[in-house]
Amino acid sequence: MNALPEIELRSALEARGISRRQFVKFCSTMVATLALPPRYLHAVVKALDQTTRPVLVWLEFQDCAGNSESMLRSGYPSVGDFVLELLSWEYHELIMAGAGKRAEETLERVMRDHKGEYIAVIEGSIPMAEDGVHCTIGGKTALDIATRVCSNAAINIAVGACAWDGGIVRASPNPTGAVGLAEAVPGIKNLVNLGGCPHNPANTAAVLVHYLTFHDLPALDQYHRPLFAYGDIIHDQCERRAHYDAGRYVEEWGDEGHRKGWCLYKMGCKGPEATYNCPTVRWNEGTSWPVKAGHGCIACASPRFWDTKSPFYDRLPKVPGFGVDVLAEEIGWGGTAAVGIAMLAQVAGNIVRDKTRAKNVRAEENPPPDLNAGGSA
């Protein structure tokens, strides 16, 4: 196996016909996504100019390849530029030409030749049940591969809900015992979780640019998610927020409010409890995002969202133990009515008791509250 050619990014871009203008435009988009002040643009351009193409391996485990698809539809830069120029993607099952033994050899070579230098991107959850036999590649379990690849990488990026915390694979009842990367490989270093179903490629690109520029990870929250992308509540950035504050809501799909773009709160939108930069970065080259398109947020970037944020079309979770589809509201109203009825029954019972007391209780057992009882004390 021949070693990788060391090509400077600048010359590689020029060879591909990407103009300087396009390159700087990409850099400024990244600076904006990272919420850095504009004066950092120069630093980013300079760093990316001088960098040799970093090596990247993309592992897929229990996934739907949705995050790869999301990356392929990335607008900044287009995926062709991204794959071929900005990074040297050595291993990615979905898009690489090689297969079988040749492909596995590439992964081994990267781990050997670029130990501690390459970037590992992980997509999909890792099964832990029955020694991880539910996901094996080339006879090795996902857990084995992840442990080996991630412990030798410079940085590890878990893209999508599955790689972060198990995602839909881990949702109840979780037959494969799937977990996210951080749980599967405890003590993993330089981990960035990019939750979301799928992840937004703009954020992944921004994390990479930040790493290439500053040789460090961006500021992370308690879930190892970059704060620039997961630090703000969707509700606070939403373009329908004014309708929420005013009190104008979509009551059903396709009604007047829906056509006028009113707030989707009553349709079960989880924007008020979700954090993500969806409303600002958006998707498909900044065209739109779910709430703008008229569908409520399902909080796909929140921890364990399949379990915790469902039902997606109701405000609050269903109450367990009360059969199917019983809302807290129904139980609450029922309980309140029951107490009211019990109190009315008490009134009736007390009237009967007061009427019959004199007949049944002898005078000495039921002394009337005597005005002079205290006199002798």
Partner: protein, 265 residues
């Protein structure tokens, strides 16, 4: 309901008890103040909180700010409610014997026995209620549950508030909670307990009227003025005092001095 047995004299008023009765200062001002703040805030919190769950008013006009106003009232009421609970918590430790903490959590066997006796009365298994100047053990226990609900409501409310303000102090205090219970379930609990308050609200007004009628000691007035009118003998034989002595067989005798303290000449 039963006919009134006790008749007031012609010159009787809230300041002049009937001969043989004494006017007892039962509910001190922190008790009454926190009570009424809680009443007002629970009503306003329920109305605005229910709106925030399911907005039932559709806004008209271009300058409407219905949800914004509801949220503002909810937050202000929430902090007033917290203040009232804090005052009451403090007063649990320093109040007179009728509103101290041990009137709410039964700590002695005697009080537990009386709790059963009160339960029997409510279940129509006894003819007459046990007469108390302060809270009977069951009422006290019910209020303890209500205070527990209030604390859960405050905690969940603060968690939800911390999500929108992001204050460092608040996140330090309650920020760890959403890691164990998802924010949606915090919201569910916060919403669900509201109905607990509604159930209590109905029950509370009913029993207040019932006891007021049965015991004829001015219970309804007492939450406004603080005073109850009780026969002298009852003040000397207050079950609340009896219950505080785990070994006490004989009825305790309160001193004249204490009696004077609670009596306005």
């Amino acid at each position: 309901m039963k006919k009134t047995q006790r008749t007031a004299g012609t010159d009787a008023s809230w300041k002049n008890p009937v001969p043989g009765q004494v006017r007892v200062y039962v509910w001190e001002w922190p008790v009454r103040f926190s009570h009424w703040v809680m009443v007002i805030t629970i009503i306003s919190l329920s109305i605005t909180g229910y709106y925030m769950h399911a907005p039932y008013v559709v806004a008209r006009g271009r300058t409407a700010y219905v949800m914004g106003t509801m949220r503002f009232i909810h937050l202000v009421s929430g902090f007033a409610f917290m203040a009232a609970i804090l005052i009451r918590m403090y007063w649990f430790l320093f109040a007179n014997r009728w509103s101290r903490w041990n009137q709410y959590i039964p700590t002695t066997r005697k009080r537990l026995a009386n709790l059963v006796a009160v339960g029997k009365y409510y279940a129509f298994m006894a003819w007459s209620p046990v007469r108390y100047i302060g809270h009977n053990p069951m009422a006290g226990a019910a209020y303890a549950v209500v205070y527990a609900m209030a604390l859960v409501e405050i905690l969940t409310g603060l968690v939800l508030f911390s999500q929108i303000v992001g204050s460092r102090v608040l996140l330090f205090l309650v920020g760890w909670i959403p890691r164990f219970i998802d924010i949606q379930w915090i919201r569910e609990i916060h919403f669900f307990i509201m109905f607990g308050f509604w159930m209590f609200f109905i029950h509370h007004i009913y029993t207040a009227i019932l006891v007021s009628v049965e015991e004829e000691n001015g219970l309804m007035d007492s939450i406004f003025s603080g005073y109850k009118f009780v026969p002298k003998a009852e003040l000397l034989r207050d079950p609340a005092v009896e219950e505080m002595r785990p070994d006490g067989e004989a009825a305790p005798v309160t001193s004249d001095l204490e009696q004077e303290k609670h009596t306005v000449a």
